[in-house]
Symmetry: C2
C-alpha cells in the first residue's frame, strides 16, 4: 500500500463497482416481459443495452456530438435495443420510466456498510459517468450516503478523459494525490492513476454475468486491492 | 400553504439560513486576536467581512469579472478587511486557513433534526452561493446530511440570477415547481419564486446580531413560513 497519509476523498466508479446493474435491469425487464406477455431474457437485454454505453460516450469524447447527460445517451441506446428485442408496444412514458431503471440499480451487499465506515474518516463521493439526477435518485433508492456527486456532468467530460478526474478533484479543492478512485475496472483506474489519483481495485467478478472473463483481478500496481467495500474500509483504517 | 403534492426536492440557502456565520466567525477571530495579542471585536470583523459579499458577487453577476468560486471572492475580501482591522502579521498559510473559516461554520440548533426528517421524504440539497468544496467541508464539519450540492458553482451563476435556481433544478431533472427553496432572506425567496420554485421562509432574527432590522419576517406570500427546520419538517409532513 502506497503512502495514503494525505488521502482526503475516496471517490467511486458506480456502474459495476457500487451497483449490480445487470441483475437489477434483468429483474425489471423480466417483470415487464411478463406484463407484456412476451418472452425475453432480461439479463441478455441488460448486456445488450450496456454494450452500447462505451460507443455512445465515444462520440462525445471525440467531439462528434456535444456533451450530454448519460440519461440522454441511455435513452437513444434504449431505442436501439428495443429494435432488437420485441417487448411489445411501449408508450413514451413507459420508455422514460424504463430508461430510469439506471436510477434504481441495487448496490452490491457490502456497499452500505463499507461506505458508512469510510464516510466517518473521508469525503466519499461518486466519480461516475452517470448524471447528477441519476446518482442522486440511485442514492435515495437504497440509502447510499454520498457526501458529494462529482464525475462526468460536474466536470463536463466523460471518463476516461483526464478532465473527468482532474475536474472532480478541483471541485473539492484537493490535489489529485489527496483523492482515490475505487473501481472494478482496470482501465478506469489506470486513467485515474495517470492523473495522480490514488487507486483501489475491487473485484466484481459477476458484474457481466457468470461467464465474465475481464477485470477479474488487478492488471496493474494499484495502491490497494480489496475484496469488497468493507475490506476497503479496513485497509483505509476507516 | 400552496399545493405541494409534487414537491420532490427541498433546497436550502446556507449562509444565515443553515449556519450562523456571524457567531462562528466571531469565535475564531476572537481566538486569533487573543493568540496575536491584539484587541478586535470578532463579531464586528465578521460583519465587515460579510458586508463585502454582495458587492464582490455583483462584479461577477454584471460580467465585470468572470465567474469564480466564492472562496476566491472571500479571499480578496479578507485582504480588504485585514486592512481595516490590524490583527498582526499573518502568513499566507494563516490567511488561507482563516479564509476557510467559511467551511467551518456551525448550524443553528434545529438544523440537523429538521434535515434528517426531511431527507426521509425529499431530496435535500444546498442551493447556495458557496462553492462545492466549502459546502462539502461544512457538511463534514457538523454532519449536515445533504443528498446533493447544487447552487452557484454547479450552475455557473450567483444567486439571485435566475440561472442559479433554474440550473440547479435542471441538474435534478426536475421542474421548478417540484423544487422548494428554504431561506431566511426575502430577496432570495422572491427570486426563486419568480423562477417557479416553491418557497419557505424561516426567520433567523439574530443572523446579523442582536440589532437586526431586516428579514425579521416574510415580506411576501411564500408557500410556507416556518419558525425553524423542525417546524419545516412538520409542515412538509416529513
Amino acid at each position: 500500500m502506497g503512502n495514503l497519509d494525505q488521502l482526503k476523498a475516496v471517490t467511486f466508479d458506480v456502474f459495476g463497482t457500487v451497483v449490480d446493474w445487470r441483475s437489477s435491469i434483468a429483474r425489471e425487464i423480466n417483470l415487464l416481459a411478463d406484463e407484456k406477455e412476451v418472452s425475453i431474457d432480461g439479463a441478455e437485454f441488460a448486456s445488450a443495452w450496456r454494450s452500447l454505453y462505451q460507443p455512445s460516450m465515444s462520440k462525445v469524447r471525440s467531439g462528434e456530438i456535444p456533451f450530454q447527460p448519460l440519461d440522454a445517451l441511455h435513452r437513444n441506446n434504449l431505442d436501439t435495443v428495443l429494435e432488437q428485442y420485441d417487448i411489445g408496444q411501449l408508450s413514451e412514458s413507459e420508455k422514460g420510466h424504463l430508461n430510469r431503471v439506471w436510477h434504481r440499480l441495487d448496490p452490491w451487499p457490502d456497499v452500505i456498510e463499507g461506505l458508512v465506515r469510510l464516510k466517518e474518516r473521508y469525503i466519499i463521493g461518486t466519480l461516475s459517468n452517470g448524471n447528477i439526477s441519476l446518482i442522486v435518485n440511485m442514492a435515495k433508492h437504497s440509502g447510499l450516503p454520498w457526501d458529494v456527486v462529482l464525475g462526468a456532468e460536474v466536470a463536463g467530460h466523460y471518463k476516461p478523459c483526464p478532465e473527468a478526474y482532474l475536474g472532480s478533484a478541483k471541485k473539492l479543492d484537493l490535489a489529485p494525490h489527496q483523492c482515490m478512485l475505487v473501481a472494478a475496472h482496470n482501465t478506469d483506474l489506470q486513467a485515474a492513476s495517470s492523473c495522480g489519483f490514488r487507486t483501489a481495485f475491487v473485484a466484481r467478478p459477476t458484474e457481466y454475468g457468470p461467464d465474465q472473463t475481464t477485470d477479474l483481478c488487478a492488471d496493474h500496481e494499484f495502491d490497494v486491492v480489496v475484496s469488497d467495500f468493507v475490506d476497503l474500509a479496513e485497509q483505509l483504517q476507516a
